[in-house]
């Protein structure tokens, strides 16, 4: 408890430092000298880190030339930099071109000769062919439009033996994979995501969360009668809160659990997220009981398996690499630039981040600092297998942030590949990576034994000979002493 308090205190301090940092920084990207972020050491200490991202722009609906936004809820950026913004309260989709210029507004489509609109849509997705998929929550359907805005497909009233009689389909978020299969997160569904074939038929549920329950509740349930039990709340898996899909077709999802709140699902729905970081990739590891754990509301997968999660309760965006190492954090709840009231969606625009605030109806643009760029580049090079470049970039990173422990492991791995085992051992030790250390130690040991084989063998032989001579000498001197010793 005391430890928790201490952590919280240090957290508050950091938060204060963060406030100070952003206010002093003045919103100029590249002001690396402003301390303002944090990271966790292997031992769980909160250590300071330079800011990797800084807020530079705040865009409201009027700035975009589209009138005030009303409870916007989702955001999608295509590979060529077009931004699709779902203005839920106004039932429209804004498409922004380069430089955040309003390109067009999509608020209706033609269906069977009639114009139809959206009703409180909650989620959207854009495929590689620029097809717009909207989870039209109020109309209980998913609408798919082609790049000219013509209707291509409507998915409504799915029927299947898996679905209960009178099932009400209310899609909230949606993604589409490369094979045009659609994954829908629907409200009130506990069995995972709903998977639809390219023709729009419901095929199955995928990736249900595990059921978690309180031991106390379980005890009560065991002690109750059947009649009492039927009155109680059922233990059901938690619902997902958001999802995203990466280039290889893996689903990344967040849910409302305290642990295992981030999942990476393969085609079978199994969780294959690597959790090799010092702590689980689920936001802050320390929190006060009043504030509760992170409430994750969005996840965004970037290139090279990097992904970011958005904690709505503290307004922070945490970014992890593919192994689950915590890279950096930014954001917060507040009234200044770079802080939010009710953040709801995050997405990457190239190197930059866009964060959408539902309550304020504003889009915040975060740009990398030099530190952030270097670290991103290091992780990317390592992912590509470009050891030389990774080594260089990690070196530069630790020059800017000596506290970033997993970077030492990156250097160690590069040195190991280059054959400098002794040096790489030191780096692995620095990042508390026993496996890496052991790997380079084995090679180092082999190298040493091989290069000094002659010396080692001569010493061993000399010692053996010396011992034999010593014994002979003792025996020759007389058995009396030996006999006394053995008595």
């Amino acid at each position: 408890m005391l430890a928790l308090l201490r952590r919280t205190k240090s957290h508050l301090l950091i938060a204060a430092a963060c406030l100070l940092g952003t206010s002093l920084g003045g919103g100029i990207a590249g002001a690396e000298d402003t301390a303002g972020s944090y990271n966790y050491s292997f031992w769980g200490d909160t250590v300071s880190a330079p800011a990797a991202y800084q807020a530079t722009e705040l865009l409201g609906g009027d700035d975009l030339g589209a009138g005030a936004l009303k409870e916007p809820s989702d955001l999608h950026v295509t590979d060529d930099g077009e931004i699709y913004l779902l203005d839920s309260g106004n039932n429209r989709v804004l498409v922004l071109g380069p430089g955040f210029k309003l390109d067009r507004v999509i608020d209706s489509f033609e269906r069977d000769g009639k114009r139809e609109t959206f009703s409180n849509p909650q989620g959207l997705f854009v495929t590689d062919d620029k097809e717009l998929v909207v989870a039209d929550t109020g109309h209980k359907r998913v609408v798919r439009l082609d790049r000219e805005g013509g209707l291509r497909q409507v998915v409504e009233n799915p029927t299947s033996e898996f679905l209960a009689e009178g099932f009400s389909f209310s899609p909230v978020r949606v993604v589409v994979d490369k094979a045009q299969r659609m994954y829908v997160m629907a409200a009130g569904v506990f069995d995972g995501f709903m998977e639809f074939s390219s023709s729009g038929d419901f095929t199955s549920f995928i990736g249900a969360n595990r059921v978690y329950f309180n031991p106390m509740d379980h005890l009560w349930k065991m002690l109750s009668t059947k009649a009492q039990r039927s009155q109680m709340v059922m233990f059901t898996p938690t619902e997902y809160t958001n999802l995203d899909i990466d280039e290889e077709g893996f689903l990344y999802a967040t849910n409302g659990q305290v642990t295992d709140s981030v999942r990476k699902l393969n085609a079978q729905g199994t969780d294959i997220l690597r959790r090799e970081g010092y702590f689980a990739p689920e936001g802050d590891i320390y929190y006060t009981i009043e504030d509760g754990p992170a409430r994750l509301v969005d996840i965004d997968v970037g290139d090279s398996e990097m992904y970011s999660i958005l904690d709505a309760s503290r307004g922070r965006i945490f970014t992890y690499n593919g192994d689950g190492h915590f890279m950096y954090v930014f954001g917060g709840i507040g009234n200044q630039l770079g802080e939010f009231k009710n953040p709801t969606a995050v997405d990457r625009l190239g190197e930059d981040f866009l964060v959408l605030d539902k309550a304020l109806g504003e889009l915040t643009v975060f740009r990398t600092t030099e530190y952030g760029r270097t670290l991103n580049e290091a992780v990317r090079s390592y992912y590509r297998g470009d050891e030389e470049q990774a080594y260089e970039k990690y070196r530069q990173t630790i020059q800017m942030n000596a506290n970033l422990e997993f970077a030492y492991s990156g250097i160690g791995k590069a040195l190991l590949r280059q054959g400098d085992y002794r040096e790489s051992m030191a780096y692995f030790k620095q990042s508390m990576d026993q496996e890496g250390y052991s790997k380079s130690f084995l090679l180092y040991r082999k190298q040493v034994l091989r290069s000094h084989f002659a010396t080692i063998m001569s010493v061993v032989l000399a010692l053996a000979a010396g011992y034999a001579i010593f014994r002979k000498y003792r025996k020759a001197k007389g058995g009396g002493k030996v006999a006394a010793m053995e008595s």
């Binding site: 030790k429 508390m432 496996e435 250390y437 052991s438 084995l442 040991r445 006394a484």
Partner: protein, 211 residues
């Protein structure tokens, strides 16, 4: 004199390798002074081993938070439990027809800890030249050392008090319970003392400030 030293050094090894004969010798044949010196030496070596272990064990077996290393506490962790054990054991066996005197109990307990030193000490250095795949050997050796010590403690207690095996096991369990009681009483005692001290100091403060 040289002869004597040599033998004194061999004696603990004889005890841990031939516990039944060794403990008999320890109780009836050996000089008290030698037993006491050797016992204290073993305890000191054990404390030293533990200290060196946290500091110098290899990285693959030793992840220790630097701030938590405290050599004084390592010494306390060796001496206090041994003293607790001996006092508890003595208190119980005196009532239960045990033939051991306190010095026998102390010596037998300390000699029983010798395998911990003998096995752990070389592993401090060996653990620096092993990889993760060889760590099971390390874990195995340390477990063997613990089991060996437990066995010696058992045989020592049995021989020193001239108990039957079942009675010894019963006494060991009772001793552990008694140690718990002692720890509880100590805590109670210290917290009471603390209360009294603070009470007196407050009274003094009150008088000094008002007078």
């Amino acid at each position: 004199m040289r002869q004597w030293n040599r033998e004194a050094l061999r004696y603990p090894f004889y005890v841990i390798l031939h516990p039944f004969n060794g403990y008999w010798d320890l109780k009836y044949e050996r000089s008290r002074r030698l037993n006491l010196i050797l016992s204290l030496a073993i305890l000191c070596l054990l404390a030293l081993t533990n200290i060196l272990q946290t500091q110098y064990s290899g990285f693959v077996v030793n992840l220790v938070y630097p701030d938590s290393i405290n050599s004084l506490m390592e010494i306390v962790y060796v001496f206090v439990p041994v003293l607790f054990w001996c006092v508890a054991n003595w208190s119980l066996t005196t009532l239960m027809d045990g033939e051991g005197k306190f010095r026998d109990i102390f010596a037998s307990t300390c000699f029983a800890l010798a395998p911990l030193v003998v096995i752990h000490f070389p592993w401090i250095w060996l653990s620096n030249v092993i990889s993760l795949q060889e760590v099971p050997f390390y874990r195995f050796s340390t477990s063997v050392a613990l089991l060996w010590s437990a066995f010696l403690l058992f045989v020592g207690n049995m021989t020193v008090h001239q108990y039957s095996p079942m009675k010894t096991i019963g006494m060991i369990i009772l001793t552990l319970v008694a140690m718990g009681f002692m720890a509880f009483l100590c805590l109670l005692f210290f917290s009471l003392i603390q209360q009294i001290v603070s009470f007196v100091s407050i009274i003094y403060q009150e008088i000094a400030l008002r007078g």
